[in-house]
Symmetry: C2
């Protein structure tokens, strides 16, 4: 099977390096031998001496996707508009595609999967989400017989590293981001990671696989960690929680709930143990019950493991001409489209609420009355002295609906008084 690589960045270079290092092992596991025949990159000089013998390096990406000898194209450019054009062209030339480009699939996945279905080719993307965790294959194949009720994950290693630094070493947000940049975990512009957008891209893929529906990027509410205060990390800890950037999708009677937001997770849960730049994903199926998967979320070498697994899978399908094994998005294309989906933002769960109040008599009574009137019962309460005659009042509610919360907010703001802040985060139960 002849493979060609678009791009020669970190992931592409590592993929070819890993392939060469473990060539014998890979050969022992594949029916058809795999051969890398072409690389296209803007800077061919960088690939010099780093590709197998007989692999041609050029800057001709269009020639690559049009090359009749190529069976599978590895799209590892990281570029969305160019990636889209090249992937569609490769598919129209009836080539299989492997990609690690989550932004591309989140934005143009439906177009790409439709084309793949039309031409009977595979688009595999294990390297697009939580690279050392086989979550795509797990959802597409291993959990195939299950009705998935929820998927809850830490999908962005950069944000998790930043939050871990803040939680474990008392760093502030800016300091933790700088440290992440120094270690190569964060880009010069960290916005895509810390804003929750990258996790939202990944969540779309997982939710689409889990629930068999196309998902609009615009349907995902995402909120990042830029405004997380060390203070709240500290209060959460005192109450038995870690604050994590949680991507979650769940299907309930009201419809699909998809969001990325800073969330309190119980310290005893597996998700709370996911620290530094690692990823972790909890899922629940009606047959398998709760499960949890943990591993690296990024890194060239780690991503190469996922990309090469996809490549080995294609090489092991005897019907190289056909669409092969499982459907790209788990469900048959007709079955996906037919279902449709309603979105809901009304979630039942607990919330963390921090109110900064004037430290004077009667204020607790005022807040308690607001809670009582909204029929919100309290699971945990913490009041912290604070400074300048202000005090922080932290409430963890029992399970309430989001509308209960929203209806109560104006009265809470009023109780807090002008200029006083209210911080709210959802709270997870133990998965």
């Amino acid at each position: 099977m002849k493979a060609a690589v678009l791009g020669f960045g970190n992931v592409a270079a590592a993929t070819i390096e890993s392939f060469m290092a473990n060539q014998e092992l890979i050969r022992a596991k594949t029916r058809r031998p795999i051969k890398f025949v072409r690389v296209a990159t803007r800077t061919p000089a960088r690939a010099e001496g780093k590709v197998p013998a007989g692999c041609v390096v050029s800057n001709d990406c269009w020639g690559l996707v049009d090359d009749p000898q190529v069976d599978v194209v590895l799209e590892l450019t990281g570029d969305v508009p160019l990636g889209r054009q090249l992937v569609l062209r490769a598919l129209s030339n009836r080539k299989h595609v492997i990609t690690a480009n989550k932004a591309l699939l989140a934005k143009h996945g439906e177009e790409i999967m439709s084309m793949a279905e039309e031409v009977g080719r595979n688009v595999l993307f294990e390297g697009a989400v939580a690279v050392s965790i086989p979550i795509i294959k797990t959802l597409r194949e291993s959990a195939a017989a299950n009705r998935i009720s929820s998927i809850t994950g830490i999908l962005n290693g950069t944000s998790n590293y930043v939050l871990s630094q803040m939680s474990e070493h008392g760093a502030d947000f800016a300091g933790a981001v700088a440290e992440a940049q120094r270690r190569g975990y964060a880009e010069a512009d960290p916005t895509l990671d810390v804003s929750g957008e990258d996790a939202a891209h990944k969540l779309i893929l997982l939710a689409s696989l889990s629930f068999g529906v196309p998902i609009d990027f615009s349907a995902v509410q995402f909120k990042g960690i830029q405004d997380i205060d060390r203070l709240d990390i500290g209060f959460a800890k005192r109450l038995g929680y870690q604050i994590k950037l949680i991507a979650q999708a769940s299907m309930g009677p009201e419809g699909l709930d998809v969001s990325v937001q800073p969330t309190l997770v119980p310290i005893a849960s597996m998700l709370a143990k996911v620290s530094d730049s690692m990823n972790g994903i909890a899922l629940k199926g009606d047959l398998l019950g709760p499960a949890f998967l943990y591993g690296s979320g990024a890194g060239g070498r780690q991503t190469s493991s996922a990309v090469l697994a996809d490549l080995i899978e294609l090489a092991n399908r005897e019907d190289a001409g056909g669409a092969g094994g499982a459907y790209n998005m788990g469900f048959g294309h007709g079955h996906r489209r037919a279902q449709g989906v309603a979105y809901t933002r009304d979630r039942v769960g607990a919330f963390y609420i921090r109110l900064r109040l004037d430290d004077k008599a009667g204020v607790l009574a005022k807040v308690s009355t607001v809670l009582a009137q909204a029929n919100v019962s309290v699971n945990a309460l913490l009041q912290d002295g604070g400074q300048h005659e202000q005090t922080d009042l932290i409430i963890i509610t029992h399970d309430i609906t989001s509308s209960q919360l929203n209806n109560m907010l104006p009265a809470l703001y009023e109780a807090a008084g002008p200029g006083h802040s209210v911080v709210i985060h959802p709270v997870l139960g133990i998965h």
Copy 2:
């Protein structure tokens, strides 16, 4: 694709029940529709009203494996000698086989896989190990490009439940086993589970997939939890560890090390968080780094998830006549055989040593001298008053070799004195 089921115990009944419950979902995910056409069980009356329309129930297991209409046989008898004969017969009739029978595969796996290779059929067994964890597929496919260095797991839910009861509720071994039996986690005769043998069966499958070698059951050292003393669970906890029944396989320069034994795991590790009857598996690959997977290890419904995933996979292989996708044991058969394997029992690691000594002056000096002479340095030391003029001295060593430990033992026994006990367990680092 026409499926037939051998047996109608817990797992078989749950598999058909789950299939019927999620039929539409499964249909949406499979290219070829799946139909259950036959069940063979010693007690056909038990299956009455519990199979789909058109599925014939009888006690004729040989007629089932010889039935020309059957494409895939689900061997869910749990019986080893009969299971072996039926599986070999089904394969010789060129049928695919799905099984959840780990004892069968641990003992006769090589014979079965050779036959499968010969006739070009698949033997799939995701339901044989840690049912809610897709570990077979992960090792066979997702981690295929990796050199696996180690796999470390809690693979027996019954033992883990018993140890959790002892650790969390202070139960003694007999009481915890009785409670496990009451809850249906343990058989009337719990020996297979608590002796480590069941975990050893599963470990053979994981090690064989990881390292591409056939493994003799006799090569696996297994030691159960029958002799675990609550006292050691308590001391381990005070030193920051949980005692778990750990199945581990690692490949080093000296060869393959495979064992099942009670082991101290650091409280901060993911494995320590695996409590009650759950399973957890940590693996390390040269590309993917460390990963960890968690889920149920048993249960009819949970096992049905794995068995149905295997069934869906077969139905999605367009080449229903061929051996299909990945090799049954990950590696091409020739490649497995060619490799061979050396076994080693010389491991480098830390050890927990508890000595019960006469509580008198000079005894610590005596033990310290033994350690120093063996060049064993101490990571943690705890002395506990105890009763009857005896004291427990607990030592956690730094990394040493097993031979260093073994060479030191006679002198340690001597230091402990006649009739005094020495308890030794290996200690894991954080994975």
